[in-house]
Structure formats: structure tokens, C-alpha cells
């Protein structure tokens, strides 16, 4: 987690200077109207969304005490969610831990698959990648290059093959080879395309055929540059394949990723990882506490 902090700070540097300074000046204002307007400006420009911004502002309006701290606490409360803040299922030795990555086009699924593979391989686990994006041109080749980088095998079929069949085969292979982790990369799709969402459901179904526990985790890979559509994405992907969490990519830009607050508040999904670059090690575990602190410190 120490690395997270350093790297997150590096990734969030530009974010911080802007947002933090204006937030700081905002919370010290005395006039309630002025305070409200400034806070709103900062939060909305950070893609937090109206509902989450409202809740944050209300929580510190008319309150005594350190409004700075109150704001921080409230952001934390939202990020940690109201329901069970479940722990991630541990990676055991009793069969492969299957991670299914889903998301819209270009959100960073393949890169994240590559990063995760390299991370687990680096921890000494045996890892397999599944190229279940059989649609996009050169998607398979892209994943294969990531596989080569971390010395991880990639299970694939030819382009145009049935994605579910690739997923099924790869899980069979992972079980047969007694692998610790299987990461399934899927084609990007917009959440409103019901036929493509059906394909995703099918992928999930065929994985479950080989055991109820599969996939242990399904992550929505979200581009931090995206605005309020993140909510629709979270809702509809969750509806289709029961998400376990989010991976927020491209946080190394100036996008603030504030919609994570909105998604957490509205759909109650935790963020598990963040992407802060294009290299294999530009992936960090997400900790709500450190995230908020890094944002507000």
C-alpha cells in the first residue's frame, strides 16, 4: 500500500493542485451561499455529479467544526458505501481465481488485463489470460503482446470465434493446468447494446457451468475521463453480469474520477484498482481512505 500512496500522488498531482486549492478556499468561506456555490463548482467540475455533490454540500452546511474534515469524512462515507463493504474473495489454491473484465470500448480492459497478469505473475502466482475479445481488429494480438511481456500464456481462438467458447476453453485450460489466476479480457461494448450484453451474460454462464464459484470477480473497467455516463455503465453492466467492483483507469490525466463517488452512492460498487499509466506496473490497489486523503490533503 505504500507504493500506492506514492504512485497515486504522482498520478493525481495535477488533480490535486487544482481541486485541493479551490476546495480549501471554498470550505473556509463564511457566507453560506458563497460556500455552496464554490463547493458545487469544484465538485461538479470534478465529475462528482449532482446528487453526490448535493449530499456532500448538505453534510457540511450549517455544521460546526472543521468543515474540511467533515467534507473528507463525508466523501469517505460515500466511497465506503452503505451496505456491506465486502472483502475481496481471497485467491486460494483450490482452483483458478477467475477475473472477468468488462467495459465500454477503449476503457482500458486489455491494458488492465495485462497489468493484472503482470502483477499476479510478479507475486509468484501462475496466471493465464483469455482473449475473449474476438471482435475487434488485432485485439487478440494486443493481449498476446501483454502476455509476452509478463511471460503469461494467452488462450485464444481465431478472430470472429465465439467469445463464450474462448472463455470456456480458457477456464478448462486453467483448471487442467492447475493455474492460480485466470483473467478474461472481453470486447468493449456500450451498455445499451442488448445483444452484446447478452454475449457477456453468455460468457458468464459458460464460466459458471464449470463451477458456481466462477467467475470469482467481475470488474467494470471505467475510464476516469468519462462523466455521468459512468452511472449508466455501472447500472447496466451490473444488471447483466453482476459486478463485484470497478477499476478506474487513466487517472494519470487531469480527469478527477469524481464519478466514482456518484457510482458508489447510486449503484454501491467499490473501486478495487486504479490505472495511472500505460506501463505494466501502473496499476494500484484502491483504498477509499487514501484516495480521499490524496484528494484533500
Amino acid at each position: 500500500m505504500a507504493g500506492f500512496f506514492v504512485n497515486l500522488k504522482r498520478g493525481l498531482q495535477k488533480t490535486r493542485s487544482g481541486l485541493v486549492n479551490s476546495l480549501k478556499s471554498a470550505v473556509t468561506r463564511q457566507d453560506p451561499e458563497e460556500l455552496r456555490e464554490e463547493l458545487e463548482a469544484v465538485l461538479l467540475q470534478g465529475d462528482v455529479g449532482i446528487l453526490a455533490a448535493d449530499r456532500l454540500i448538505k453534510s457540511i452546511q450549517g455544521q460546526d467544526g472543521d468543515r474540511w474534515q467533515l467534507l473528507e469524512e463525508e466523501m469517505l462515507r460515500i466511497l465506503e458505501g452503505e451496505g456491506e463493504n465486502g472483502e475481496r474473495p481471497p485467491i486460494t489454491t483450490g482452483g483458478p481465481h477467475v477475473i472477468l473484465l468488462v467495459g465500454t470500448n477503449g476503457s482500458g480492459k486489455t491494458t488492465t488485463a495485462g497489468k493484472l497478469a503482470s502483477k499476479y505473475a510478479g507475486e509468484g502466482k501462475s496466471v493465464l489470460l483469455a482473449a475473449a475479445d474476438t471482435y475487434r481488429a488485432a485485439a487478440i494480438e494486443q493481449l498476446q503482446i501483454w502476455g509476452e511481456r509478463s511471460g503469461v500464456d494467452v488462450i485464444s481462438q481465431e478472430r470472429g470465434a465465439d467469445a463464450a467458447s474462448v472463455a470456456y476453453d480458457s477456464l478448462s485450460a486453467a483448471i487442467a493446468r492447475n493455474m492460480d489466476v485466470l483473467i478474461v479480457d472481453t470486447a468493449g461494448r456500450l451498455q445499451t447494446r442488448s445483444n452484446l450484453m447478452d454475449e457477456l451474460k453468455k460468457i458468464r454462464r459458460v464460466l459458471q457451468k464449470q463451477g458456481d464459484q466462477y467467475p470469482q470477480e467481475t470488474f467494470l473497467v471505467l475510464d476516469a475521463t468519462i462523466g455521468q455516463n459512468a452511472l449508466s455503465q455501472a447500472r447496466l453492466f451490473h444488471e447483466a453480469v453482476e459486478l463485484d467492483g470497478l477499476i478506474l483507469t487513466k487517472l494519470d490525466g487531469t480527469a478527477k474520477g469524481g464519478m466514482v463517488l456518484a457510482v458508489r452512492q447510486e449503484v454501491d460498487l467499490p473501486v478495487r484498482y486504479i490505472g495511472v499509466g500505460e506501463r505494466a506496473d501502473d496499476l494500484m490497489e484502491f483504498s477509499p481512505k487514501e484516495f480521499v486523503q490524496a484528494l484533500l490533503e
Binding site: 465500454t104 462523466g227 487513466k250 490525466g253 480527469a255
Partner: protein
């Protein structure tokens, strides 16, 4: 979120509609909902602010107070201002007088540059032009493979880099070759890059210097949030933009980035990507975009049009019936009477969300209108409400009564059936948020 905002908008407009006259407070209340809608659409906070003050200036004036239907008037003003801000009309790609036209694509990672490059090539290839693609992304794994596979699908030539070749060199080589091969269009696909990545921004500056592009287009994900203004400003400063492309607009993103970018760069949207297929590329329509930003179907425009030509009450009733899918032949006949003032039927129907494209063969010309009117007035009231009961002998009777042929009666019934089906489809979409407007 979508539906929620729409509901709020509905109720705000309901309030406005209930009144004969508007005071400043009403306008402010109405605009508050517009504000929410625009923010939810990801229009940049500051752009929203500026936009609303412009609208308010117009709305609180005499224009609104004097109008008979103030609610409609506000919506109309908002819509008009949005269209104006979006550039009024679609902006085509400007081709060089001396081919080849060089198009440079730039943008963040994953925004859709490669797919757009292929779509653009395919579009011009189809028009008999000779496009050439350039794979200048040397970083993303298999990026050149992706473009090469797409080029093969299109049947278009491509230049890709040698081992270790720089993007500038690839681009220079490609353009030289394209010139020699008498190509019409060179499309340079570059690597995705963050606007704050100094090295890579320097690189695209150098690519731009050797390419001397006629058109530099920023490719932007239609789902982009507030950051769109930072991105667009940075690219504009470094390489100068001639326009931008909005991708992934086939989903439910409201595309507020379009308004923000247009506002901060002053350059127009040139294309809209509406799918993964190679043909899924459209020209930009500011009026459609405006309605989308507000989260309403074009029904607003429809009602406005209707309100201009027929009486207001009737227009509202009509829209209501359309929404509830109770549109009958009776309404149809009613409409025909005022249709001449409203414009061609296919245009009217084109405004109904989900019915953007009329089925082939469904068009009603001015002359035909009279005959259609005659046919409908020869029906019994029951037949007009429930056309399914119109069997063979009824058809004969109607044809005789209206001085038309059974064939014409058949055709009308078929067309009416199509219209109803379309409305049904539109209504269904409405429940998911595409036509979320209450009257």
C-alpha cells in the same frame, strides 16, 4: 439519472405551462431544471453557466411574457440557443484543392481514433476516392495490426512503420508515397496521448509539422466528462484544431462534451461515430444534438411546429396520444387538415424519437393528402379508431365512397399501421429514457 432529470424537467415545464404569464421567478425555476439536465449531460460547469445567463436574458424579456404559451417558448429559446452554440449546421471535411488532403487525428487513449480513421477511409473509398491510411501509433501493442486489418477490410492502402521508425518518419514517408500514388486522402492515425504528457504532445507537434495537415481533428469519446475542456484546449494550443469527432454516440451518453469543446475551441463537430461497424459514421446535426443534450426527444420540436400551425391544445393532445400509442386514423385525419402548414409528413414523423427513419415508400405528397383525407372521412368512427376491423367489403365501400381504389385504401391502412408501430417503438424507448417528456 436520465429519467430522473427528465421527470424533473417535465414537472418544471408543467408548472410553467400551467401559467398564462411568466415572471422572472418562473424562468429561474425552469432554467434550474435545464441546468441540471445540461450538467447531467456532462456539459462543462462554466459553459452551462454562461449558456444559462444568455438564455435568461432572452427569456425574461418581453418575448416570453407576451407569448401565449410561455412554457413552450422557454423550451424553444433554450433549444435555439443550444443549436446556435453548437454551430447551427453540420460542417463537412474541407478537401484540399490540390490532393491529397491530409487529415491528422489526435486524441486521448481509447477515444476511438483508429476506428474513426477506418470509417473515414471507407466513406471516401465508397465515393470513388483513393484514401491512404497511416499507422503512426508505435506504442499501443498491436495498434498498427489493428489499422492494417481494417485497411484490408476496406480495401485501402496503408503505411506502417519499420522496426524502430519514428511516427514523424512514418508520416513523412506515407505522405510522399501517397502523393506519388495519386491518392486523394491521407489519414494519419496517431497514438492516444494525455494532453498533459509533454513528451507525447511534443511528438504530435512534430508529426503535425511534417504532415502539414489540411484538417486536424480531435477524436473525443462522446461520454467524456468535465475534462473535455482541458483536453480540447491543450490540443488546440499545441497543434491547432479544425474540428472534432464525437465517438460512441450510439449509446445513451448525452454528449455534453460536444457543447463544451465547441465552446472552448470554436471549432465544429465534423462527424459522429454511432457504432463499431465501418459505416457507423454520421454527419453532425446540431438540432438533434440540442434535443439530446436536454434529454428529450424531438417531440419538443414537433409540438412547437404543431403549435405554430394548429391550435395549441390540440397539439398537446396529439403528443399525448402519440405517447400513449392511441394515435388513431381520426387523429391522422385531423392532422391532415393542418399538415400543409406543418410541412411534409415524413419530416414531421422524423421528429418522433425512435422513428428517425421512415420506412421506405412512406411519404405523403401534397396531392395525395386530399385523397387520404377523403378515404378517412369515408370511414365510420369505429373504423377510424379500430382499423383492424376494416375487412375486404369495408375496404370496397370506403374506396367507392371516397372515389379512390381499394388499392389506395390498402396502402393507407398499411402506412398507418407502420406509423403506429413506429410510435409504439418510440414509446418503448421513451420508457428507457429516450422520449421522456410529459405534456
Amino acid at each position: 439519472m436520465f429519467e430522473e432529470i427528465s421527470r424533473k424537467l417535465d414537472s418544471a415545464f408543467q408548472k410553467l405551462r400551467g401559467k398564462g404569464k411568466l415572471n422572472e421567478k418562473d424562468v429561474t425555476a425552469g432554467l434550474r431544471e435545464i441546468r441540471l439536465a445540461l450538467l447531467e449531460a456532462d456539459v462543462h460547469y462554466k459553459v452551462v453557466k454562461e449558456f444559462l445567463s444568455a438564455v435568461k436574458e432572452r427569456a425574461v424579456g418581453n418575448e416570453v411574457l407576451k407569448s401565449i404559451t410561455p412554457g413552450q417558448q422557454i423550451v424553444k429559446i433554450v433549444h435555439e440557443e443550444l443549436v446556435k452554440l453548437l454551430g447551427g449546421q453540420s460542417a463537412p471535411l474541407r478537401l484540399a484543392s490540390q490532393p491529397p488532403t491530409v487529415v491528422l487525428l489526435a486524441g486521448l487513449q481509447g477515444s476511438g481514433k483508429t476506428t474513426f480513421a477506418a470509417k473515414l477511409a471507407a466513406r471516401y473509398k465508397k465515393r470513388g476516392k483513393r484514401p491512404h491510411l497511416v499507422a503512426a501509433d508505435i506504442y499501443r501493442p498491436a495498434a498498427a495490426d489493428q489499422l492494417e486489418q481494417l485497411a484490408e477490410t476496406i480495401g485501402c492502402t496503408i503505411t506502417r512503420g519499420e522496426e524502430g521508425e519514428s511516427p514523424e518518419s512514418i508520416t513523412e514517408r506515407a505522405i510522399r508515397k501517397a502523393r506519388g500514388d495519386l491518392k486523394d486522402l491521407v489519414i494519419v492515425d496517431t497514438a492516444g496521448r494525455l494532453h498533459v504528457d509533454d513528451d507525447l504532445m511534443g511528438e504530435i507537434e512534430r508529426i503535425s509539422a511534417v504532415a502539414e495537415p489540411h484538417e486536424t481533428l480531435l477524436v473525443v469519446d462522446g461520454m467524456t466528462g468535465q475534462d473535455a475542456v482541458n483536453v480540447a484546449t491543450a490540443f488546440q494550443e499545441r497543434i491547432g484544431l479544425d474540428g472534432f469527432v464525437l465517438t460512441k454516440m450510439d449509446g445513451d451518453a448525452r454528449g455534453g462534451a460536444a457543447l463544451s469543446i465547441r465552446h472552448v475551441t470554436g471549432t465544429p463537430v465534423k462527424f459522429v461515430g454511432v457504432g463499431e461497424g465501418i459505416e457507423a459514421l454520421e454527419e453532425f446535426h446540431p438540432d438533434r444534438m440540442a434535443t439530446r443534450l436536454l434529454g428529450m426527444g424531438d417531440v419538443i420540436t414537433l409540438v412547437e411546429k404543431a403549435a405554430e400551425s394548429i391550435d395549441h391544445e390540440k397539439a398537446i393532445r396529439l403528443a399525448e396520444r402519440m405517447k400513449r400509442q392511441q394515435f388513431t386514423l381520426e387523429d391522422f385525419a385531423d392532422q391532415l387538415k393542418s399538415l400543409k402548414n406543418m410541412g411534409p409528413l415524413d419530416q414531421i414523423l422524423g421528429m418522433i424519437p425512435g422513428a428517425a427513419k421512415l420506412p421506405k415508400g412512406l411519404s405523403v405528397d401534397e396531392k395525395g393528402l386530399g385523397r387520404v383525407g377523403a378515404i378517412i372521412s369515408s370511414m365510420t368512427p369505429t373504423e377510424r379508431v379500430e382499423p383492424v376491423i376494416i375487412n375486404g367489403s369495408r375496404r370496397k365501400r370506403i374506396a367507392a365512397g371516397s372515389g379512390t381504389s381499394v388499392q389506395e385504401v390498402n396502402q393507407l391502412l398499411k402506412q398507418f399501421d407502420m406509423i403506429r408501430k413506429m410510435m409504439k417503438r418510440a414509446g418503448k424507448k421513451g420508457r428507457r429514457g429516450l422520449m421522456p417528456i410529459g405534456f
